[in-house]
Amino acid sequence: MIRFHYQGQGYYNIDLSTYEQAFLHNLYYAMLRIRRIEEEIERRYCEDEMKTPIHLVIGQEATSVGSCAALKTDDRIYATHRTHGNYLAKGGDLKAMISELYCRANGCVASRGGSMHLLDKKAGMDGSSAIVGGIIPIATGSALAAQLQSSDCITGVFFGDGATEEGALWESLNFAALKKLPVIYFCENNFYSVCSPLKNREPAGTRIDKKADAFGVNAEQVDATNVIKVYEATLRAILRINSGAGPAFLECIAYRWRGHSGAGDDSHTGYRDPKEVLHWETVCPVATFYNALIDQGLLHENQARRMEEMINAEIKEAFAYAINSPNPVYEDLNKFAYSD
């Protein structure tokens, strides 16, 4: 039984002619890159050499890519356990990421965080928490810092539908709305928390965006199989913030094709119908965008092929780099017990 029906539009029949071609290519490239990187992680995961939990974002790439395309490098984002897409879309270093997954000394946090705690401060990917909801108040504090410093930095924070059940979110929204903080809350609603469907956790008839709205945070629901919709909603949120009207909340709806963690789909365990996955695959954010670009003559097949090649080469290099990187040594353990 398909519980969470097709709600996305994908890219069918969307006119993209108002956008610069290079921009559209970048969006496509960024989504494709995330997809291919995760597929490679997945492929190699069974080797048991990436000794870290992984939470793949396959099927949900458009949220990270659409939102980060609207943010500046200086803007900061924060993430939850499902970090890969956020990290890569914001410009996080691939080699440092793969090294982190391989527990290497030159991982982005020197093998202290693993897959659930990727960060690249130069790119404005400022951190994450493996505690559901835990990063939300922290991101709100980042926005407070920006406000107090009169900086034009905007903070974005990504989290799942499950996090909307944690009180910390509502405390954060209240404070952000009260102080009109420059923060955008990206709720990636994929209908599941691990194997628990939304309907087991939130009452029928309620809507996450409506709750945020009642807390005084301008909220909208976004079809997050459509990268342009995410991009445009993020732009609207940024305009709002820059006008001084305060925070925004985007409920980005997309579907996780793989299991909650690890490699592969886990629909066979019974918590969701494999048909549901197939259903959502028809509105693949990457493929439907590709088709639209091709159809509208905005991308040529050989350009796309070159992209695949570039990504492929980059991935190969990153994995080779990571695998050949050194492990941490004993002395590393005691570093940074306190900040000087």
Binding site: T52, P53, R112, G114, M116, V132, V194, G262, P328
Partner: protein
């Protein structure tokens, strides 16, 4: 590869007990049986927690329960740890006996308001008019990138709190018997399991039996040193001690099984013979469990002590996620063995 299963399997030792002695079950199956028996016994008992009804069934601990019992008796919860903890308190105050399962103790840090400000105090504040019979269960994580936020053994943060009980089993037999005892107890009881014990095999009688809360047990008898601890690190200590026989070193190894109430007499009894104390814990070494046991000895068994007390726990650092760093972070049987040897020189 389910997160960290590979790691746990590689850590699992052969059956600890002789199958000829009785039925052998693994740790998770023992817990599963305890929950099944409890749910059959008393309609007021219910089991809740994130994912208790999914196919993995909380590491297997709740597997099959959703088929056997009503969905009101075994249910999934929203991601609202603090709220749900309070819901358990309120239900327990009104005739129910909730058993609230968590993947990780780290998530209990969200619930300290309900655990410490409320659950632990209601019976006392109400001058005995209310009881709060509830069980809070969580499995300490380790390995495969569990990292700082999915590996914490927080017993030391709760041990000072009046009104709570804290249980940390180390064998399938105890896991079952202590779960049943905890459910039967009229107070909030915390059970901290350890992920790396969950594939252990051991003798587990059928039916209901109780392991008393507040009673330690000798796992080895010896003369030179007293080793006191619970849970996973106790199995490492046994390995260490068993390896020292060649060198003529023997030890009393005491499994406290519960940290609060704490069986101090068994420690003093042993110390009066050995005069040497090594305290071990799966959690941070500083403050808390190791310190409490050492302090009790220095207060009340001082004249038995022949040498400085030693303790082994985790260093004063968060847990690293990476595999190599983890090896440096966690004590192992070799470390324990070296300390014992040094104590006995």
């Amino acid at each position: 590869m389910p997160w960290s299963e590979a790691m746990i399997k590689s850590q699992t030792k052969l059956p600890a007990s002789d199958p000829s002695k009785g039925r052998v079950l693994n740790y998770t199956a023992a817990l599963n049986e305890a929950l099944t028996l409890a749910l059959e016994l008393d309609p007021n008992i219910f089991v809740l927690g994130q994912g208790v009804d999914d196919s993995s069934g909380m590491f297997g601990v709740t597997k099959g329960l959703p088929d056997k019992f009503d969905s009101q008796r075994v249910f999934d919860t929203p991601l609202s740890e603090d709220g749900m903890m309070g819901v358990c308190v309120g239900a327990a105050m009104n005739g129910m006996r909730p058993v609230y399962l968590h993947n990780r103790p780290d998530f209990l840090l969200l619930t300290f308001n309900q655990l410490v400000n409320h659950a632990s105090k209601m019976h006392w504040m109400d001058s005995g008019q209310t009881s709060v019979p509830m069980v809070v269960w969580a499995a300490i994580g380790r390995g495969w990138g569990s990292g700082s936020q999915h590996s914490q053994a927080i017993q030391s943060l709760l041990m000072p709190v009046p009104g709570l009980k804290i249980v940390m089993p180390s064998t399938p037999y105890d896991a079952k018997g202590l779960m049943l005892a905890a459910i039967a107890d009229n107070n909030p009881v915390l059970i901290f399991e350890h992920r790396w014990l969950m594939k252990q095999q051991g003798e587990v009688p059928e039916g209901i039996y109780y392991v008393p809360i507040g009673k330690g047990v000798y796992r080895r008898r010896g003369d030179d040193v007293t080793v006191v601890g619970t849970s996973h690190i106790l199995t490492l200590a046994l390995e260490a001690v068993d390896g020292l026989g060649d060198q003529g070193i023997t030890a009393d190894v005491i499994d406290l099984r519960t940290l609060k109430p704490l069986d101090e007499n068994i420690i003093f009894e042993s110390l009066s013979k050995t005069g040497r104390l090594l305290v071990i814990d799966t959690g941070w070494q500083m403050s808390g469990v190791c310190a409490e046991i050492a302090c009790l000895a220095a207060e009340k068994a001082f004249h038995s002590l022949k040498a400085p007390i030693r303790r082994i726990g985790l260093p004063d650092l968060p847990t690293p996620a990476g595999f190599t760093l983890e090896q440096f972070y966690y004590p192992n049987a070799k470390n324990i063995s070296a300390v014992i040897q040094k104590m006995c020189q």
